[in-house]
Symmetry: D2
Subunit: 340 residues, 4 copies
């Protein structure tokens, strides 16, 4: 951390800052520029002290110089994290595709959708029984009532299940059933929930919050990692911007950037990232070309009757084509690609 | 809800949409323009069907024409909601001021801060024992350990307590102690938590999420109201934008806008809304001039040693001046003001 | 355009709105819902009247139902626009690659860079002699002094030049020299400049403004088209969001979306779109996979001495690899792809 | 400027950076932390060299430590700038109110509006004859045809005129007529135009761009100041965010912040800042309470027939009430207020 003094700071003000830094057990290093003095602060986690200095007399600015995330930081662990989900190693060379309906509503259609995505090449199933909905008047998911349907889907397809948890109380219901627990965008900073899934020893899929910076996202991963659960898969699903023609703005810059900053695997959700069926395939391909380790795609046997997010669900036929094109792009790039 | 057909939609496509609307028990009303056909959908909650139509053949767009929030909507209840917190009626003419340290850390300093804000004119105390922090390595609050300190603060000052809840599990600890339960910005869409506090019969202070639209915010209030708890106070605390000189962008447009759209009371938090001590007083005054029913202000007896958010905490002396200026502005405007 | 009345609007208020619409020579169509009346407005360009109604007594909302862009709208011209730039047809199947230094500063290095990008496979050269810079204290380009250098670059390579214009006064200098005139992001709504280039009969590359919606961008294209110049190439170059780890957020959703809404060609600038050299290749590939008709890439023979934007410039070697990977992805997708 | 090296940077990499800094005539200052080396760069305008280092081997980050704006920076000129516009001193204690129709369309209505705003207490008139419009199909202003009307308005009222310039070519028409030249939000980074008005010796009103940071805004002011024209008045008019219920998000944090960072006067435009008539008065009062030196308000004798922005125009009666309330707030605060 660096403390930048105002150009008119007195030497007494500089001395006071230095004394306070040292009182917290850290060392200082002074540098006098032409216009102002700059104080380097050396020690463990100095940035936690930022608030003590930012409005202190004579201080112009306090600048962090190390990233606040540690366990997820590639600077301290250069090798890619790989996470086993059944037979697939997420974070390795092979692309991981999670697919299925947004939510479990109708048993028959859900099971049919699952069989079709399996046939088309999916490696895991979306299994939403708890659904976060903006309005209390929208369908909230089948909740515990959907569990048997999920179990049946896994039995019929043999594919692992990715299930969203909304609250610590859901974990009991889902932990035994789900192969991967998903934390949705709206809960990315639900710290109580993050800590709970950090205590499990099971893969967690952590979606980016709709207005979360890359740094905040990695700090949320850090909540899980710091409880001892190292199996975190990140998922970019679009951020909120001023643009309204699309439901979200899929931030694919995040893919190569996360791969540079962190060793955790990252996948892309082009369905929520666009909110429009007609854009999903193009953005899935773009995500893979950008270097993503996988995709999460909404597919429904009959999108026109889906109780949530039908507008962004692919038909099984469109999904099959998507998988073929994804394979072609991955082959063309002899994955891994794009980031040296 | 209105379904706008493409200019080249066939009459068979129009007929198919009409048939599907009617199959859901709603009525339709056709209007042929020069360029295209528009189908009005008449019935209860038609917007829930939006996803069924948005990608249907021949459809260009689906446009909502009623607001999705009901119980919080001023169109259906024109009289202002007023909420009793001890002797104060929040939402009435008198301004309500909540003040105190961001978190309870040091018992002595916390109690001193509380006595000082009381002396300066605060009507309620901030009492944060559970703190949501971006990093797992930051101070997380005293949690249950802080409860006795809160009790003592209330005993010494007689002022009501506003306490944040982070998880359903906190409610037991806080429900009996706190006079108002606060839902923080990061939990504005933690629907499990909203439903829980909706089951209480106790005022809830609902902060706006940092990227929440006005509509989403009112829909989150709706989660609480629809469980039967009508005592919801809204709090604008700044939204996330591209500007980085301030921690957040305080959106004061929200004040007169919420007063137009809803009957719920609304207050302003200029401390989080700016993140800089030097801007707090100006923005508190602006909030009151814009018509807010109250303020939530961070005040600390010794901001320079606060373990969280010291940079945005006022000294007790500065807070006393703020209260005097707020009183002067309120008097000048013979509150209520600014919205006809 | 649809005028939605308030649920408590009187029939006199409805009648007044209808009368005013008709006074402007348009027809109306009434629809009574359970909760409110909705008035359809039929005629040419009704949305121009929006302001007359939005605050009229009894009106709740005014909703556009046709897109305000006409000449660029695919609804009215379904065939892709193709634009000849020398021997290349931009907007067709073959990918168009513009490359070179951000600005012309040093003659020798500029010419060397041009020869190297040509060798690597570029189809056109970036030739910035007028540079828009945020600070008046930064390098502003060689201006007229760079024109001879550009001429020499074209002579040596035979490649066409893409040159940015900042003001109507630059057009004389550049119109004869440049093969494509570029309007930069900061001038996307410089309407005087748009009208001027609309009077030329020469391709214009129109970058998206950093906070421009898709609709505003197409309306800016409309300024050029409506003057009779139909040769407009759109270029996505990143939008401004809250994220600060990247200079901009490259919005690749825009690629398939523009292809759906408009017949104009669209290319991607991953250099400005990320601001970081290490992300450029990944995002170039993503742009092509998303369906872009081309790329604009900053390449400099010695990025470490570039007077502007060195941090995002590729070396010629890295650019050569990028071109190879782009070719592989394009082949894999048997372009066009991703948009049905 | 500070160059932060990666934790695994070699001493050769550190030495190479130091050598390159020195080769540019600047001095360095090394500081070794526990985890990494930090190089301070000392000299004039070191930040211009940022691009040379940000991607150099071993470099993690380059951090500016001085603000890039100079002439507008309060650190180097602590006294408030005051600008004479007729008899009024903008930037002093008395509030300056500019009012009138958004554009000059109908002569009779424009002159009537001007007389009414004068009677209500305005100090200057809005006189838009060149209008920037998002769509080429919207009313573009009377252009040169409106000049006589403006002249007449000034003759009748004796009030000074604030007129927007869209292009260098407009300056001839307007420079003699207008008392203050306005640069609109869309032209805030039209550097050619900024330089032109910098050559005049006449007050310039510089609106904030809709996605401009505070720093970019001050750098645009710097373009004008650095040409020798020190009479710059800043105007906050709302920024673009994700919120769509209001046309823009009025960023009142900017008022006390600009007053802290700069000595230039700043006013507020609540009409564009909200886009809704019903919010204008509340936000005008909020702007004054936040410390603004003045207001720019749209007022029209018959808002319902205005050809542009009628939805945000006040009636003359509403404007008269606004002025009264503004006076009351200003008196209550014994202006200047809110910022120490």
């Amino acid at each position: 951390m660096i403390i930048v003094m105002r150009h008119d700071a007195t030497s007494a003000q500089v001395a006071a800052v230095v004394a306070q830094v040292q009182a917290h057990g850290m060392r200082t290093h002074l540098s006098d520029g032409d216009e102002r003095t700059v104080i380097g602060v050396i020690g463990t986690n100095p940035f936690a002290l930022r608030d003590l200095f930012i409005e202190a007399p004579g201080v112009a600015e306090v600048v962090p110089i190390t990233k606040p995330f540690k366990l997820s930081n590639r600077e301290f662990r250069s090798r890619d994290t790989r996470i086993k989900v059944n037979s697939h190693e997420v974070g390795g060379d092979r692309i991981w595709i999670v697919a299925g309906p947004c939510s479990v509503d109708n048993e028959e259609l859900y099971l049919e959708s699952c069989r079709l995505v399996q046939a088309a090449g999916a490696h895991a199933l979306r299994g939403g029984v708890f659904k976060p909905r903006t309005s209390p008047y929208s369908f909230q998911g089948l909740r515990a009532g959907g569990v048997e349907i999920l179990r049946e889907a896994r039995r019929q397809t043999g594919l692992p299940l990715v299930c969203e948890v909304l609250a610590p109380a859901d974990i009991d219901t889902l932990a035994e059933l789900a192969d991967v627990l998903q934390i949705g965008a709206r809960n990315m900073q639900n710290f109580a929930l993050l800590s709970e899934v950090g205590r499990l020893r099971k893969p967690v899929l952590l979606k980016r919050g709709m207005s979360a910076t890359i740094e905040e996202w990695l700090l949320s991963a850090e909540y899980i990692l710091s409880q001892g659960n190292y199996q975190v898969i990140l998922c970019e699903r679009g951020i909120r911007t001023f643009e309204t023609y699309t439901r979200n703005t899929l931030d694919l810059n995040a893919i190569p950037l996360i791969k540079e900053l962190s060793h955790l695997p990252i996948i892309v959700d082009p369905s929520h990232g666009t909110g429009r069926r007609s854009l999903v395939t193009a953005m899935a391909l773009a995500g893979i070309a950008a270097g993503a380790h996988g995709l999460m795609v909404e597919v429904h046997a009959q999108p026109e009757v889906a109780l949530s997010d039908g507008a962004q669900s692919l038909t099984p036929q469109a999904f099959r084509q998507l998988v073929e094109q994804v394979d072609a792009v991955a082959a063309a790039l002899q994955r891994p690609v794009g980031v040296s």
